[in-house]
Amino acid sequence: MSLASAFEGGPAFVPYLVAGDPDYSASLSYVEALDDGGADAIELGLPFYFEFVEELDVDASLVCMTYYNLVSRYGESTGPRPFVERAAEVGIEGFVVPDLPVEEAGPLRDACDEFGLDLAFIVAPTTTDDRLQLIRERVSGYVYVQARLGTTGAREDISAQTGHSLERLDGWEIPKAVGFGIGSGDQAERVVQAGADGVIVGSALVEIVGEGIETDAPTTEVSSRLAGKVRELKAGALAGGSSTNRNEHGRTDPTLER
């Protein structure tokens, strides 16, 4: 199985949450709520426990998003292989490691290949053409398109930003998932209209969990708020996919990747 298959049924919705936030059992319900809401793949911010993933009951593909130190240090090792092996055992399908640029990713890429897992990389607005080429050679699963730098500064229109970012990936035979502070169904729709194969949403969901902690809301209430938000975002993504002005940068054949 490849992560790319999560993008096969139309524009994919990829939410992110931190495993264990605010605690183990609430977090299990929250991640399952993302699944109920229709997530196609879930990026799990993983501190270190694989039991969590084993206990999860979800249909969506699971992607582990974590710091490289946790990956390379697992089991007191000095390389990523044991972590990847264990991740494969519990059914994780791929990784995004934000502090691991492609230049340093050799050992993790090798371990992922050995156990049949994907390794997604982030492409930023500042990524140079040379590095874009390197990333293209080593990425698998999907490419995470960070369409804008900070959350501050001039806010260009979301579809224009997405369009610019995707133009640079023209011809890449791998699904392109776009994320940069997307928080509403309407924004998700515009991102897909601009050519994204998937929409990644993190902070809007982490905020819902955060509000739950502040207001001491019961887990079930927060779960249903999360599922509701996911439905809204997923519906937006789907609407973007079916609308007519979708440009030719859009869907690619995911079976062709890597």
Partner: protein, 417 residues
């Protein structure tokens, strides 16, 4: 070309958005710092003389020498403008940012020494400046916070985690990831992704460049050993750099805190001794020795001195220790406080608590723990005015042989000065 790896250590473990900035900085480092393009190094040296007060003296310490039975020379970085070695690096980097055409400076700070040095350098070179500082450190280093504000810098407290240097670095990296195009991040030690460890070392190498000439003028040869404290390791690398090819023993003194044993359960290291007790990991952009638990979670470090309170260390220093070129040793909080009082009382110099670690090691060596030889250079990395409140509190809690009589303060109500 500059190398980004030191044996197993170093590298560039940074978010994708920062990679171009790191490449741009590497290019600038090679052109301006290594090749003196546009006279960068000439201007750096001139400003370090005129604004910084270099060269700093190398002083023979009469009482310590007599006490220990070997000659002790103090490299007086405490007399550098700002009161610590930090200005060497801060001024170098702010000037480099200018040459690179950046128009905003950000920096993290622990003790506040790097923050104050950066704020001074930014004011001197007319650049806007924002300093991130853990809220715990803001509370324990208030005078330094005020100094930064006086120099026109914005100080942003960081509330994450335990509110110390580790969180401040992470927050500054986050800012940089969103502002790289116009902003330069002035990192405070020989840590972080390449080219920072090499570049900061080169700016700090003024210390050993001078000290080597000064000691040879004085005794006609190089010393038998050089001793420096190590947090991130910038004063350390700076004090060692020009002695690396000599037959000189190099000692990096780490903060032993209250114990060298890591509390796995709580994820707390009651020390900051990453060279001596740490394991290989990736922290803040580099592979190096870090204080971490068996799952790879970074531990909270501890030291009586805020400037050493850090769970990592510079990758090149980690490599030099691994190779056996540098010896890593530790002294605990109590020995440090005693050394602080001893230098204050016997030599008339109030040292920074960080530097007091290096001094405390002299005492250990004299009692047989190490053979430093006959001629010893100690890097006195900073002055201790910033630490007076901490020392007052910590001395009060302990039974120290060399401390002044504290009863006057108790009558006055104790606590804060």
């Amino acid at each position: 070309m500059s190398t980004s790896k030191y044996g197993e250590y170093g590298g560039q473990y940074v978010p994708e958005a920062l990679m171009p900035a790191i490449e741009e900085l590497t290019d600038a480092y090679e052109r301006y710092v290594l090749d003196n393009e546009d006279g960068f190094i000439d201007e750096f040296r001139r400003r370090m003389r005129e604004f910084g007060g270099r060269p700093t003296p190398l002083q023979y310490a009469d009482q310590l020498s007599e006490r220990y039975g070997f000659d002790v020379y103090l490299k007086r970085e405490d007399l550098l403008h700002g009161g610590a070695h930090k200005l060497n690096n801060a001024l170098g980097q702010v000037l480099l940012a200018k040459y690179m055409g950046k128009d905003r400076i950000i920096a993290e700070t622990g003790a506040g020494q790097h923050g104050t040095a950066t704020a001074m350098a930014a004011a001197h070179l007319d650049m806007p400046c924002e300093i991130y500082m853990g809220e715990t450190d803001v509370a324990r280093q208030r005078p330094n916070v005020f100094r930064m504000r006086l120099n026109g810098a914005d100080v942003t407290p960081v509330t994450a985690g335990r509110g110390t240097l580790k969180e401040a670095i992470s927050e500054t990296m986050r800012d940089w990831a969103g502002s790289v195009e116009e902003t330069h991040y002035v990192i405070g030690s020989v840590v972080g992704p390449h080219p920072f460890p090499a570049m900061v070392r080169d700016f700090q190498a003024l210390i050993s460049e001078e000290a080597r000439d000064q000691i040879r003028d004085r005794i006609g040869r190089v010393p038998d050993s050089v001793v420096a404290c190590a947090g991130g390791g910038s004063n350390t690398m700076g004090a060692f750099q020009h002695f690396r090819d000599d037959e000189v023993d190099l000692y990096a003194v780490e903060a032993g805190g209250s114990s060298l044993t890591l509390d796995e359960e709580e994820g707390v290291a009651p020390n900051s001794a990453s060279l001596s007790t740490g394991t290989d990991g990736v922290l803040h952009g580099a592979r190096t020795k870090v204080l971490q638990d068996s799952d790879g979670q970074i531990c909270e470090s501890h030291s009586v001195s805020a400037g050493l309170d850090y769970a990592g260390v510079g990758p090149e220093l980690a490599h030099l220790v691994e190779e056996g070129r540098v010896r890593a040793v530790t002294v605990d909080d109590t020995a440090t406080l005693e050394a602080f009082h001893r230098l204050s009382r016997e030599e008339g110099i109030i040292p920074a608590l960080e530097s007091a670690h290096a001094l405390a090691f002299l005492d250990r060596a004299a009692s047989g723990d190490a053979d430093l030889g006959d001629e010893v250079v100690v890097n006195l990395s900073g002055r201790g005015d910033k630490d007076i409140e901490t020392v007052l509190e910590e001395t009060d809690r302990r039974d120290l042989s060399v401390a002044p009589d504290m009863s006057l303060f108790e009558e006055l109500g104790g606590g804060s000065l």
